[in-house]
């Protein structure tokens, strides 16, 4: 295998690994731009993975699995909203609590329903999102550089992958070209401005959280029935937090979010590739270094080395008028 083939291989796996990050980071984008921090993305990903695996197993239909994943993630969003918008609770506490609930609930229910130690049963082929071979793949396979790139990176992904990339311009358009987006960005900066403009701050924030749940549902579904064929204990494995890091790294903007997710996905893929291999001169590099890189990069960014990351001004603060 020459270096180019290796590179294409890593790139293909980078794209696959970045998809759950991309859905989740976009999910976080909507809630954070509306001024609601959502540490609970991890938990939403987990419960929606579980729900989609169950639904897909029972119905044998991947789309019903997706629907279940989305609904459950939205339900979690509502709980977060009830705690932090309606009751003005601490958003971080609510999010962390929901992560614990998600981790516990999926194991308990999984064990009760499937008795496989927290796994769900294997989802049949019809209940999964299979890779799609784009037209023309065979025809240009032998073209140098472009051929392998098209065949192994661009083609051969499942439909959710393409939807993920489609969500980037759609998110941008919603945020910057619609009334909902304008209000959403405003409420994350100064809810007082939204309130005095005659718009309900609570309802607006709830709607943002619904969008968050919707996108997080895709992420979980992708993990369970596109990337694998069953739900496995704690299968989100911290991706929700990496997605949050990507969101900060991208300074809360849709297109940079995509680039940050691809970068973090690439680091992950590279770490997998380096597993057990040794570099000349240096020797074997512990993979943990690559796994830590997203966080390290984000810290470097936050420390102000790569421009200023300005979070939405009203983020994390419950809206109260009367002291």
């Amino acid at each position: 295998m020459d270096y180019f083939d290796i590179f294409i291989g890593i790139l293909g796996s980078a794209v696959r690994l970045s998809i759950p990050l991309l859905f989740t980071a976009l999910a976080g984008l909507f809630s954070e731009r509306a001024g609601i921090f959502d540490i609970g993305l991890e938990g939403k990903m987990l419960v929606s993975a579980f729900a989609s695996a169950c639904a897909a197993y029972w119905t044998g239909n991947a789309w019903l699995g997706l629907a279940a994943g989305i609904l459950v993630a939205i339900a979690f969003s509502f709980i977060h909203g009830f705690a932090s918008i309606t009751n003005r609770g601490n958003q971080i506490v609510s999010g962390v609590a929901l992560n614990f609930v998600a981790a516990g609930l999926t194991i308990v229910l999984g064990q009760a329903w499937f008795g496989q130690g927290g796994r769900t049963a294997q989802v049949p082929g019809s209940g999964r999102f299979a890779p799609i071979i784009l037209p023309g793949t065979d025809a240009i396979r032998d073209v140098p550089i472009l051929g392998p790139l098209y065949a192994n990176v661009i083609s051969g992904n499942n439909i959710l992958t393409y939807i993920a990339f489609l969500m980037v311009p759609i998110s941008w358009w919603v945020l910057y070209r619609t009334r909902f987006g304008l209000r959403l960005r405003a409420v994350g900066e100064n809810p007082g401005a939204v309130d005095t403009a005659g718009i309900s701050v609570s309802w607006l924030r709830y709607r943002a959280l619904i969008v968050t749940g919707f996108l997080a549902g895709f992420a979980g579904t992708y993990l369970a029935i596109a990337q694998s064929a069953a739900f496995i204990n704690n299968m989100s494995a911290g991706k929700g937090y990496i997605a949050l890091a990507a969101l900060i790294f991208a300074k809360w903007k849709p297109v940079p979010v995509m680039l940050a997710c691809l970068l973090f996905g690439f680091l992950d893929a590279f770490a997998n590739f380096m597993q057990g291999k040794s570099l000349p001169l240096i020797g074997e590099v512990p993979v943990q270094i690559f796994q830590a890189l997203p966080y390290i990069l984000t810290c470097v960014l936050l420390a102000g080395f790569i421009g200023i990351a300005r979070p939405p001004k009203a983020g994390g603060v419950p809206y109260t008028k009367e002291r």
Binding site: R179, L182, R185, N190, D195, A197, I199, K313, R323
Partner: protein, 509 residues
């Protein structure tokens, strides 16, 4: 209403029996107010009189506990700002309600976008902004980002927001507080044009000069009450000043003559700016000697708070120097200043003086907790702290006499005594005090006043800031009057109320 009212005073707004409490604070007490259509109606009152609260109720931002609002004679329920906007009311808030990283255009459109997609609305908003700019001289670049604009322009954006929504009634809450005189003049020109076109304007301010310059009618608020309404042409600045500050029962304080010694606190050319860059204290200089009380009088919001905070080391001066016993101290933090013999009783005991969730004994040493007396190394000696608290409780008659009680459960007067005891019992050389008796019952007022005079008689330098003119007059040996950030004059402690009132209003020096 009688039927023979001339047409021009047909009411645009009537507020009837508006009442509002924030927890224990009675911000509006049974307020009645009638505003004539096509007039500029001023509302004046000191800070905390309840002006903003009343207007925010009219704008649907707060909800009145009681009372009725009528617009053009018809009773309406204003459930939220949307209802107020629909009724033709627009408001420019004291603290602007702008999205700072949005453009002017986006801010103006927010809430009035004209459809689900922005594109269509943008074009018409641009056109409408141009028209408003031409009609009223409200000039701003629609594509400028708000945070990059000077405050004067930001305020214009707020006015444009209201007009864009078709406001017929425009409320401006302390609009000139952040403006330069030239900007204020421009604003007044705009307001006159608006009035001449039939719009009704409510202008809130605590500056009497502005009231006289531009309003047709003026209402005065004091401590949550509407105390008077006058035609501007039929009143005088003197009358308004008196109504605003109010005659308060003069407290009698036994006090001998002062024996001023050497200078202990000295302030030289001190200038303080707030976070917005507005100058709050403007080139202020004065001395306080050992054994004298210097009072700073002024309508709240004229820089006294910032002056105190700068001396206390909480706020960084922009320029100038502060000396304690001859040592330059500007830039030293509050803990360092305490070591130099300065004690500070802050204006707002809830936000600065106390941690309300702490038990009494914890607050009673707060800020001095590093002292050897209260612990060794990193450990606190709780027994010593409690014993110390008990002594203060006995000496200051703090009730209930229980150092383990949560501070929030003490009455305002007793809370204030906790702070006073803590600061005075350190035996400081310089004591600076803000609003020593705000929200404190009569008995405690007398007690606190006595303690302050004891400090003076013990040869300490006392600087006293209070919005209660009586308090200033009865305690101070010398009185400095602050207006618009400057010390506009100095009087002896027996200066008349009238004289001081005029100086506080910026009329006489």
């Amino acid at each position: 209403m009688s039927l023979d009212l001339p047409k021009e005073i047909e009411p645009a707004i009537e507020l009837v029996g508006i009442d509002k409490k924030f927890g224990a604070v009675h911000a509006n007490k049974n307020i009645n107010l009638t505003v004539a259509k096509g007039s500029i109606h001023g509302v004046i009152g000191e800070n905390g009189a309840g002006k903003s609260t009343l207007m925010s109720i009219l704008y649907g931002f707060y909800h009145a506990d009681q009372g009725e609002i009528r617009i053009s004679g018809k009773p309406i329920v204003i459930r939220d700002s949307q209802a107020a906007i629909a009724a033709g009311i627009g408001m420019v808030h004291q603290h602007f309600m702008l999205v700072e990283n949005f453009t002017v255009l986006e801010n103006v459109m927010l809430g009035a976008e004209g459809g689900q997609l922005l594109r269509k609305g943008v074009a018409s908003a641009r056109k409408e902004l141009k028209r408003l700019e031409d009609d009223y001289g409200l000039e701003v670049d629609p594509d400028a980002v708000v945070e990059e604009l000077p405050v004067g322009s930001q305020q214009r954006v707020e006015i444009l927001k209201a007009l864009y929504r078709g406001a017929e009634i425009l409320i401006l809450d302390e609009p000139t507080g952040v403006l330069t005189p030239a900007e204020a003049d421009h604003l007044f020109k705009v307001l006159r044009v608006l009035r001449d076109q039939g719009k009704t304007i409510i202008l809130i301010t605590h500056k009497l000069r502005e009231i006289m310059a531009i309003t047709d009618t003026v209402s005065v608020m004091r401590r949550g009450e509407m105390v008077a309404t006058r035609k501007t042409s039929e009143t005088t600045v003197e009358e308004l000043a008196e109504l605003m500050v109010g005659r308060r029962v003069l407290l009698h304080v036994e006090k001998g003559d002062a024996n001023p010694g050497r200078v202990l606190l000295s302030v030289r050319n001190l200038t303080v700016r707030d976070a917005r860059g507005v100058t709050m204290v403007d080139d202020v200089s004065f001395d306080v000697r050992a054994g004298e009380i210097v009072g700073i009088a002024g309508v709240a919001g004229n820089g006294q708070s910032e002056l105190l905070e700068a001396i206390a080391g909480i706020r960084k001066p922009y320029s100038g120097e502060i000396f304690i016993d001859g040592k330059p101290v500007a830039g030293i933090d509050p803990a360092g200043l305490r070591d130099l013999g300065l004690a500070h009783i802050p204006e707002d005991r809830h936000h600065m003086g106390l941690v309300l969730k702490f038990e009494e004994y914890e607050n009673s040493i707060l800020g001095y907790h590093r002292d050897q007396r209260y612990g060794r190394g990193v450990m606190l000696d709780l027994d010593a702290m409690r014993k110390d608290a008990e002594e203060k409780i006995a000496k200051y008659d703090i009730r209930p006499p229980n150092p383990r009680l949560k501070t929030a459960n003490f009455s305002g007067g007793n809370q204030q005594k906790i702070v006073v005891a803590r600061e005075i019992e350190r035996d400081p050389n310089v004591l600076i005090i803000g609003q020593p008796t705000r929200g404190v019952d009569i008995g405690a007022i007398e007690f606190i006043h006595k303690r302050i005079i004891d400090m003076r008689d013990a040869g300490k330098a006392v600087l006293l800031v209070s919005v209660e003119l009586d308090e200033i007059r009865s305690l101070s040996d010398r009185i400095l009057v602050m207006f618009a950030g400057k010390v506009v004059g100095e009087k002896t402690g027996d200066a008349g109320e009238q004289t001081l009132g005029l100086m506080m209003a910026g009329i006489a020096a």
